[in-house]
Protein backbone atom coordinates (compact mmCIF):
# COMPACT_ATOMS: atom_id res chain seq x y z
CA UNK A 1 0.00 0.00 0.00
CA UNK A 2 1.40 3.40 -0.88
CA UNK A 3 1.92 6.32 1.46
CA UNK A 4 -1.25 8.26 0.68
CA UNK A 5 -3.42 5.16 1.15
CA UNK A 6 -1.77 4.40 4.50
CA UNK A 7 -2.33 8.04 5.45
CA UNK A 8 -6.04 7.81 4.63
CA UNK A 9 -6.46 4.54 6.55
CA UNK A 10 -4.63 5.86 9.61
CA UNK A 11 -6.72 9.03 9.61
CA UNK A 12 -9.96 7.08 9.23
CA UNK A 13 -9.12 4.78 12.15
CA UNK A 14 -8.03 7.71 14.34
CA UNK A 15 -11.36 9.39 13.55
CA UNK A 16 -13.20 6.25 14.70
CA UNK A 17 -11.11 6.18 17.88
CA UNK A 18 -12.57 9.56 18.80
CA UNK A 19 -15.94 7.83 19.29
CA UNK A 20 -14.51 5.75 22.13
CA UNK A 21 -13.47 6.45 25.69
CA UNK A 22 -10.41 4.99 27.44
CA UNK A 23 -12.87 2.91 29.49
CA UNK A 24 -13.34 0.96 26.22
CA UNK A 25 -9.68 0.14 26.63
CA UNK A 26 -9.53 -3.06 24.60
CA UNK A 27 -11.04 -1.40 21.53
CA UNK A 28 -8.91 1.72 22.00
CA UNK A 29 -5.66 -0.24 22.26
CA UNK A 30 -6.57 -2.27 19.17
CA UNK A 31 -7.39 0.91 17.27
CA UNK A 32 -4.01 2.39 18.15
CA UNK A 33 -2.35 -0.75 16.81
CA UNK A 34 -4.30 -0.54 13.55
CA UNK A 35 -3.71 3.17 12.97
CA UNK A 36 -0.16 3.00 14.32
CA UNK A 37 0.75 0.20 11.93
CA UNK A 38 -0.36 2.35 8.99
CA UNK A 39 1.81 5.24 10.25
CA UNK A 40 4.67 2.78 10.80
CA UNK A 41 4.39 1.46 7.25
CA UNK A 42 4.65 5.01 5.90
CA UNK A 43 7.94 5.36 7.78
CA UNK A 44 9.20 1.96 6.61
CA UNK A 45 8.40 2.70 2.97
CA UNK A 46 9.96 6.15 3.17
CA UNK A 47 13.17 4.69 4.65
CA UNK A 48 13.22 2.02 1.91
CA UNK A 49 13.26 -0.74 4.51
CA UNK A 50 10.01 -2.36 3.39
CA UNK A 51 8.45 -1.95 -0.03
CA UNK A 52 4.91 -0.76 -0.71
CA UNK A 53 4.04 -4.27 -1.88
CA UNK A 54 5.11 -5.85 1.43
CA UNK A 55 3.50 -3.97 4.31
CA UNK A 56 4.58 -4.90 7.83
CA UNK A 57 1.67 -6.46 9.72
CA UNK A 58 3.00 -6.61 13.28
CA UNK A 59 6.35 -5.20 14.44
CA UNK A 60 7.37 -8.46 16.08
CA UNK A 61 6.92 -10.36 12.80
CA UNK A 62 9.56 -8.32 10.99
CA UNK A 63 12.68 -10.25 10.09
CA UNK A 64 15.59 -10.00 12.52
CA UNK A 65 17.58 -8.09 9.92
CA UNK A 66 14.79 -5.61 9.23
CA UNK A 67 14.24 -5.00 12.95
CA UNK A 68 17.95 -4.26 13.44
CA UNK A 69 17.86 -1.67 10.66
CA UNK A 70 14.65 -0.15 11.98
CA UNK A 71 16.08 0.03 15.51
CA UNK A 72 18.82 2.26 14.12
CA UNK A 73 16.80 4.37 11.69
CA UNK A 74 13.38 4.50 13.38
CA UNK A 75 14.09 3.71 17.01
CA UNK A 76 11.36 5.86 18.55
CA UNK A 77 8.45 4.72 16.36
CA UNK A 78 9.56 1.09 16.67
CA UNK A 79 9.56 1.39 20.46
CA UNK A 80 6.12 3.01 20.32
CA UNK A 81 4.63 0.23 18.18
CA UNK A 82 6.31 -2.44 20.31
CA UNK A 83 4.74 -0.89 23.41
CA UNK A 84 1.28 -0.93 21.80
CA UNK A 85 1.74 -4.59 20.85
CA UNK A 86 2.83 -5.42 24.40
CA UNK A 87 -0.28 -3.70 25.78
CA UNK A 88 -2.41 -5.89 23.53
CA UNK A 89 -1.08 -9.00 25.27
CA UNK A 90 -1.45 -7.67 28.80
CA UNK A 91 -4.70 -5.70 28.48
CA UNK A 92 -6.60 -6.87 25.36
CA UNK A 93 -5.87 -10.60 25.41
CA UNK A 94 -5.00 -10.35 29.10
CA UNK A 95 -6.52 -8.83 32.22
CA UNK A 96 -3.69 -6.99 33.89
CA UNK A 97 -4.94 -3.99 35.95
CA UNK A 98 -5.57 -0.39 34.88
CA UNK A 99 -6.97 -0.86 31.40
CA UNK A 100 -7.80 2.85 31.08
CA UNK A 101 -4.19 3.73 31.91
CA UNK A 102 -2.99 1.23 29.31
CA UNK A 103 -5.29 2.83 26.73
CA UNK A 104 -3.85 6.26 27.55
CA UNK A 105 -0.31 4.86 27.07
CA UNK A 106 -1.34 3.36 23.73
CA UNK A 107 -2.75 6.70 22.60
CA UNK A 108 0.51 8.40 23.58
CA UNK A 109 2.44 5.84 21.53
CA UNK A 110 0.10 6.43 18.60
CA UNK A 111 0.86 10.16 18.85
CA UNK A 112 4.58 9.37 18.54
CA UNK A 113 4.00 7.29 15.40
CA UNK A 114 1.69 9.90 13.87
CA UNK A 115 4.09 12.71 14.72
CA UNK A 116 7.03 10.98 13.08
CA UNK A 117 5.06 10.10 9.95
CA UNK A 118 3.62 13.58 9.57
CA UNK A 119 6.96 15.27 10.27
CA UNK A 120 8.37 13.51 7.22
CA UNK A 121 5.22 14.17 5.20
CA UNK A 122 5.66 17.93 5.60
CA UNK A 123 8.92 17.72 3.69
CA UNK A 124 7.58 15.29 1.12
CA UNK A 125 3.76 15.20 0.93
CA UNK A 126 2.13 11.85 0.13
CA UNK A 127 1.04 11.54 -3.47
Amino acid sequence: MNESRHFNKAMRIEHSLQSLDVEHFEAVIEGTMLAGTHWFNILLHRANIVGENADAMHAEFLSVGARRKIAVLLAEPLAALDEIEALRTTHVRGDMPDGAGAARRALACLAVLRGQALAGARAEPPG
Binding site: M1, R5, N8, K9, R12, I13, H15, S16, L17, S19, L20, E23, H24, F25, E26, A27, E30, G31, L34, D55, M57, H58, E60, F61, E85, R88, T89, T90, V92, R93, G94, D95, M96, P97
Partner: protein, 154 residues
Amino acid sequence: MKIDTHIDKFRRLDEALKHLRPDEDYELWIWTAMNACVNLLNAALHRSGLTDASDSFHTQVEGLYARPDRTRGTTSDAIHAPGDVMHAGQPVLATPLPDTIACASSALALIEGLREPFVRGDGIPTAVETADWERAYRTCIRELSLVLDLAISP
Protein backbone atom coordinates in the same frame (compact mmCIF):
# COMPACT_ATOMS: atom_id res chain seq x y z
CA MET B 1 -8.25 -16.35 31.09
CA LYS B 2 -11.18 -17.17 33.31
CA ILE B 3 -14.72 -17.43 31.93
CA ASP B 4 -15.99 -14.40 33.86
CA THR B 5 -13.09 -12.29 32.60
CA HIS B 6 -13.89 -13.19 28.98
CA ILE B 7 -17.53 -12.28 29.55
CA ASP B 8 -16.55 -8.93 31.10
CA LYS B 9 -14.35 -8.22 28.10
CA PHE B 10 -17.09 -9.25 25.70
CA ARG B 11 -19.54 -6.86 27.36
CA ARG B 12 -17.07 -3.94 27.20
CA LEU B 13 -16.22 -4.62 23.55
CA ASP B 14 -19.89 -5.04 22.66
CA GLU B 15 -20.60 -1.71 24.35
CA ALA B 16 -17.74 -0.08 22.40
CA LEU B 17 -19.19 -1.51 19.21
CA LYS B 18 -22.40 0.43 19.81
CA HIS B 19 -20.37 3.65 19.42
CA LEU B 20 -19.07 2.57 15.99
CA ARG B 21 -20.89 2.37 12.67
CA PRO B 22 -20.09 -0.54 10.36
CA ASP B 23 -20.48 1.70 7.30
CA GLU B 24 -18.42 4.65 8.61
CA ASP B 25 -15.98 3.07 11.08
CA TYR B 26 -15.62 -0.27 9.37
CA GLU B 27 -11.95 -0.87 10.23
CA LEU B 28 -12.46 -0.52 13.97
CA TRP B 29 -15.97 -2.04 13.82
CA ILE B 30 -14.56 -5.23 12.25
CA TRP B 31 -11.72 -5.46 14.76
CA THR B 32 -13.92 -4.78 17.77
CA ALA B 33 -16.60 -7.23 16.65
CA MET B 34 -13.91 -9.86 16.11
CA ASN B 35 -12.45 -9.35 19.59
CA ALA B 36 -15.89 -9.39 21.21
CA CYS B 37 -16.69 -12.71 19.49
CA VAL B 38 -13.30 -14.23 20.33
CA ASN B 39 -13.81 -13.51 24.02
CA LEU B 40 -17.23 -15.12 24.04
CA LEU B 41 -15.86 -18.05 22.02
CA ASN B 42 -13.12 -18.57 24.60
CA ALA B 43 -15.67 -18.46 27.42
CA ALA B 44 -17.80 -21.06 25.60
CA LEU B 45 -14.81 -23.31 24.87
CA HIS B 46 -13.74 -23.19 28.52
CA ARG B 47 -17.31 -23.84 29.72
CA SER B 48 -17.54 -26.84 27.38
CA GLY B 49 -14.25 -28.25 28.64
CA LEU B 50 -12.65 -28.03 25.20
CA THR B 51 -9.92 -25.62 26.35
CA ASP B 52 -8.48 -24.74 29.75
CA ALA B 53 -9.45 -21.55 31.59
CA SER B 54 -5.80 -21.13 32.53
CA ASP B 55 -4.44 -17.89 33.95
CA SER B 56 -2.45 -16.97 30.85
CA PHE B 57 -2.91 -14.68 27.87
CA HIS B 58 -2.52 -15.57 24.23
CA THR B 59 0.33 -13.71 22.56
CA GLN B 60 0.54 -12.71 18.91
CA VAL B 61 2.32 -16.01 18.21
CA GLU B 62 0.02 -19.03 17.87
CA GLY B 63 0.47 -21.44 20.78
CA LEU B 64 2.63 -19.06 22.81
CA TYR B 65 1.10 -17.73 26.03
CA ALA B 66 2.10 -15.00 28.48
CA ARG B 67 1.72 -16.12 32.08
CA PRO B 68 1.20 -13.23 34.51
CA ASP B 69 2.99 -12.71 37.79
CA ARG B 70 0.27 -10.61 39.40
CA THR B 71 2.40 -9.62 42.36
CA ARG B 72 5.18 -8.17 40.22
CA GLY B 73 2.95 -7.04 37.35
CA THR B 74 5.07 -8.89 34.80
CA THR B 75 4.51 -11.75 32.35
CA SER B 76 6.67 -14.62 31.16
CA ASP B 77 6.34 -16.76 28.03
CA ALA B 78 4.76 -20.19 28.41
CA ILE B 79 3.69 -23.04 26.15
CA HIS B 80 0.93 -25.31 27.44
CA ALA B 81 -2.24 -27.15 26.46
CA PRO B 82 -4.72 -24.93 24.62
CA GLY B 83 -6.07 -22.19 26.86
CA ASP B 84 -7.42 -19.14 25.05
CA VAL B 85 -7.63 -19.41 21.28
CA MET B 86 -6.42 -16.48 19.20
CA HIS B 87 -8.93 -16.81 16.37
CA ALA B 88 -11.49 -19.31 15.08
CA GLY B 89 -9.48 -22.46 14.40
CA GLN B 90 -6.23 -21.06 15.81
CA PRO B 91 -5.08 -23.30 17.28
CA VAL B 92 -6.97 -26.25 15.84
CA LEU B 93 -8.43 -28.23 18.75
CA ALA B 94 -8.19 -31.99 19.06
CA THR B 95 -11.90 -32.43 19.83
CA PRO B 96 -14.61 -31.65 17.23
CA LEU B 97 -16.69 -28.60 18.12
CA PRO B 98 -20.34 -29.00 19.17
CA ASP B 99 -22.79 -27.65 16.58
CA THR B 100 -23.53 -24.39 18.39
CA ILE B 101 -19.85 -23.50 18.77
CA ALA B 102 -19.10 -24.63 15.20
CA CYS B 103 -21.86 -22.34 13.92
CA ALA B 104 -20.51 -19.43 15.98
CA SER B 105 -16.97 -20.14 14.75
CA SER B 106 -18.15 -19.99 11.14
CA ALA B 107 -19.76 -16.61 11.77
CA LEU B 108 -16.59 -15.41 13.49
CA ALA B 109 -14.47 -16.67 10.59
CA LEU B 110 -16.55 -14.49 8.25
CA ILE B 111 -15.72 -11.42 10.37
CA GLU B 112 -12.04 -12.40 10.61
CA GLY B 113 -11.92 -12.70 6.84
CA LEU B 114 -12.76 -9.00 6.56
CA ARG B 115 -9.41 -7.91 8.03
CA GLU B 116 -7.39 -8.28 4.86
CA PRO B 117 -9.71 -6.51 2.39
CA PHE B 118 -11.17 -3.81 4.65
CA VAL B 119 -8.71 -3.16 7.50
CA ARG B 120 -5.27 -3.81 6.03
CA GLY B 121 -6.52 -3.21 2.52
CA ASP B 122 -8.59 -0.28 1.35
CA GLY B 123 -11.80 -1.95 0.23
CA ILE B 124 -14.99 0.04 0.78
CA PRO B 125 -17.97 -2.03 1.91
CA THR B 126 -21.44 -1.85 0.42
CA ALA B 127 -24.60 -1.61 2.53
CA VAL B 128 -25.36 -5.25 1.69
CA GLU B 129 -21.93 -6.30 2.98
CA THR B 130 -22.19 -4.41 6.27
CA ALA B 131 -25.65 -5.92 6.82
CA ASP B 132 -24.05 -9.37 6.35
CA TRP B 133 -21.36 -8.50 8.90
CA GLU B 134 -23.91 -7.43 11.48
CA ARG B 135 -25.87 -10.61 10.86
CA ALA B 136 -22.73 -12.70 11.37
CA TYR B 137 -22.01 -10.87 14.62
CA ARG B 138 -25.52 -11.47 15.92
CA THR B 139 -25.32 -15.15 14.91
CA CYS B 140 -22.03 -15.64 16.71
CA ILE B 141 -23.29 -13.99 19.89
CA ARG B 142 -26.62 -15.80 19.82
CA GLU B 143 -25.04 -19.25 19.47
CA LEU B 144 -22.40 -18.68 22.13
CA SER B 145 -24.96 -17.19 24.51
CA LEU B 146 -26.80 -20.50 24.36
CA VAL B 147 -23.67 -22.38 25.41
CA LEU B 148 -23.03 -19.94 28.24
CA ASP B 149 -26.68 -19.55 29.26
CA LEU B 150 -26.27 -15.79 29.06
CA ALA B 151 -28.97 -13.23 28.40
CA ILE B 152 -27.49 -11.06 25.66
CA SER B 153 -29.48 -9.08 23.14
CA PRO B 154 -27.09 -8.17 20.32
